[in-house]
């Protein structure tokens, strides 16, 4: 089980490229998906330690994918951090209601995101 792997779900190529490189530089193993449905497949197959999920995704939105993940026992325990440019208070609530464990707005505060990722990965390992 690759519990220290981070699954980054992001359909925007620039942002996906940028975050993948920064997380890799920080020493994390990063795998990517570009839509909600393939994210669910990747979660079931690779059991990542934490998922960074954009909310506005094609095929299956981040909210729908998160809700599906939380109702699937095989992946329900994997923490999901919502990454979104939707920055209103209601958006945070919507993400948390869908089952996200945490919420980060774009532009990303990278150190804060990193410490959240470590927090969830650490909780998985202990």
């Amino acid at each position: 089980m690759a519990s220290s792997t981070v699954l980054l779900v992001e359909d925007n190529d620039i942002n996906r490229d940028m975050l993948t490189r920064r997380l890799t530089r920080a020493g994390l193993t990063v795998m990517t998906a570009t839509d909600g449905a393939s994210a669910l497949d990747a979660m079931r197959e690779h059991q990542p330690g934490v998922v960074l999920m954009d909310m506005t995704l094609p095929v299956l939105s981040g909210w729908e994918a998160t809700a599906k993940a939380k109702s699937d026992p095989s992946v329900a325990a994997i923490p999901i951090i919502a990454l979104t440019a939707h920055a209103m208070a209601a958006d945070r609530e919507r993400a948390m209601n869908a089952g996200c464990s945490d919420y980060e707005t774009k532009p990303i505060d990278f150190p804060a995101l990193l410490s959240k990722i470590y927090l969830f990965l650490g909780a998985n390992n202990t």
Binding site: A85, T105, P107
Partner: protein, 504 residues
């Protein structure tokens, strides 16, 4: 109940009139009773006077009779009477005669015949006696006294007295009956007046109370928030119905005012919602390129401070991404400002003469670098608009064309972009056609909405903000025209703008 259908004033008038009538009836029976009583007193007085007169006349006649009898006997002895004695006798006779007349005054229709009988005998008797006294000292006149006359007079007087008594008795019986009757009527009338008055007052109070209660219930229900409640105006008439009607009119206008307020509030809330949505969208759209700008800049900074060997190509590529995102942000801000002006109604149209062909050529020239970027060819056809001018807003036509042309350049690689302009008496037709990636029907249905692109990677792969076509559509509306789209995936898109011509 009938009083409920009458107005308040009418009810009061009716009750007052009824009470006054009862009162007048009572007064009438009372007066009738009083009249009967005074009649009775009068009859009693007449009866008493009559009896006294009869008695006095009887006595006077008896006294005179005896005296005349005595004098008649004395006359045989030739004893003369003195003048004073004779005058006294005459006075007494005339007094009796007065009493006779007084008795005549007391007689009425029923006793008149008896009185006449008596009067005939009595006056003859008195005349005889007067002659007796007059001729008493004259011996040449023989004394002729009718012995029967006195008896007839006293008999007829007795008959008169009897008749008077019987008439008085009969009358007093009638009067007694009348008094009894009027007393009874007065008592019955009085008791029934009080009863009827009480019933009337109670009815008045009850019906008025019922009317007021309906009003109160109506006002209470309305006050409790049931704005549709109306008082039944047909249950009353007059003032209370007027009051109910006035209340209903007030209720209706209040209800309308409340409905207007509710509508206005809903509108204000909807407008507020739209504004919030707009702000949320703007925030979202600004954050997406900013995420790339800040993310790449921080990453490059990290790479520089880590002292790693720099991959120059990678570095150049990252800087290009930052610049691309920055430019995208600028376009976005400009578009948002335009859109916000359009949505708040602050975008105005300024009409001026527009040389259409020149304008089209100018826009295509300005965008030639964009055309070259994806190695596209331009086919320009402005023959249909050569030398033509129209009144319109040049800046808006320019932006419409710029947005359509740059879209065509972005979504087409190694292709051909056809721009045509054709003007006739009715309309200017501008078309921009490409043979690029095209759109599905679902994408076509959304592209004119603000903040919507064909898909979420469009801005990454092709740039743009998702506002360009919304602005094109709004500008076409403002200029009184329209924009249409025909497209298919992989076969390119064709946008056609039609603007009405105002001939120069």
């Amino acid at each position: 109940m009938i009083t409920a259908r009458l107005g308040l004033r009418a009810r009061l008038y009716l009750a007052s009139a009824a009470i006054l009538m009862l009162f007048a009836f009572n007064v009438g029976t009372h007066l009738w009773g009083s009249y009967a009583r005074s009649e009775s007193v009068m009859a009693y007085r007449i009866a008493t006077e009559g009896t006294a007169l009869v008695r006095s006349i009887q006595q006077g006649l008896a006294t005179e009779y005896q005296r005349v009898q005595v004098l008649a006997a004395l006359r045989e002895t030739n004893a003369p009477i003195r003048i004073a004695q004779r005058e006294q006798a005459n006075a007494e006779l005339s007094e009796i005669s007065d009493q006779l007349r007084a008795l005549g005054g007391l007689s009425d229709i029923e006793t008149e015949a008896a009185f006449r009988d008596f009067y005939k005998f009595a006056s003859t008797l008195l005349d005889e006696w007067v002659r007796f006294y007059r001729d008493y000292n004259d011996n040449s006149v023989p004394s002729r006294l009718d012995a029967r006359l006195y008896g007839d007079a006293t008999d007829s007087l007795q008959a008169l007295a009897d008749q008077q008594n019987s008439v008085a008795l009969e009358r007093s019986t009638i009067i007694d009956n009348t008094i009894q009757l009027t007393d009874r009527i007065t008592i019955i009338g009085f008791v029934s007046s009080i009863t009827i008055t009480l019933i009337l007052i109670l009815t008045l109070i009850r019906t008025t109370n019922a009317s007021l209660f309906r009003l109160r219930v109506g006002v209470e229900r309305f006050g409790a928030g049931d704005l549709t409640h109306r008082i039944d105006e047909n249950r009353d008439s007059g003032e209370i119905a007027n009051l109910a009607q006035t209340f209903n009119e007030m209720s209706a206008s209040l209800q309308r005012a409340m409905a207007d307020l509710t509508d206005a509030r809903a509108e204000a809330e909807a407008a507020n919602e739209t504004k919030s949505m707009f702000l949320a969208n703007v925030s979202h759209e600004l954050r997406t390129p900013l995420n790339a700008i800040i993310g790449y800049s921080e990453m490059l900074q990290d790479e520089l401070s880590d002292g790693e060997t720099l991959d120059r190509d990678q570095f150049h590529h990252d800087l290009t991404t930052i610049i691309f995102s920055g430019r995208q942000l600028l376009t976005l801000i400009n578009d948002i400002l335009d859109l916000s002006k359009i949505e708040t109604g602050k975008m105005s149209v300024s009409y001026e003469p527009v040389n259409v062909a020149g304008l089209v050529v100018q826009v295509c020239d300005a965008l030639s670098p964009l055309l070259a970027q994806n190695k596209n060819q331009l086919e320009l056809d402005v023959v249909g608009a050569q030398n033509a001018t129209m009144r319109s807003d040049a800046a808006k036509i320019q932006q419409i064309l710029t947005n359509l042309f740059s879209n065509a350049c972005k979504f087409t690689k190694n292709g051909v972009i056809k721009v045509t302009a054709h003007i006739d008496d009715a309309a200017l037709r501008l078309s921009v056609q490409d043979n690029g990636i095209g759109m599905t029907e679902e994408q076509q249905s959304k592209v004119f909405q603000a903040f919507v692109q064909a898909d979420s990677n469009t801005s990454v792969n092709y740039g743009g903000t998702g506002l360009g076509l919304a602005i094109v559509s709004s500008f076409c509306d403002m200029l009184g025209g329209s924009v249409t789209l025909s497209s298919a995936p992989g076969e390119g898109s064709r946008f056609e703008v039609s603007l009405p011509v105002v001939q120069e």
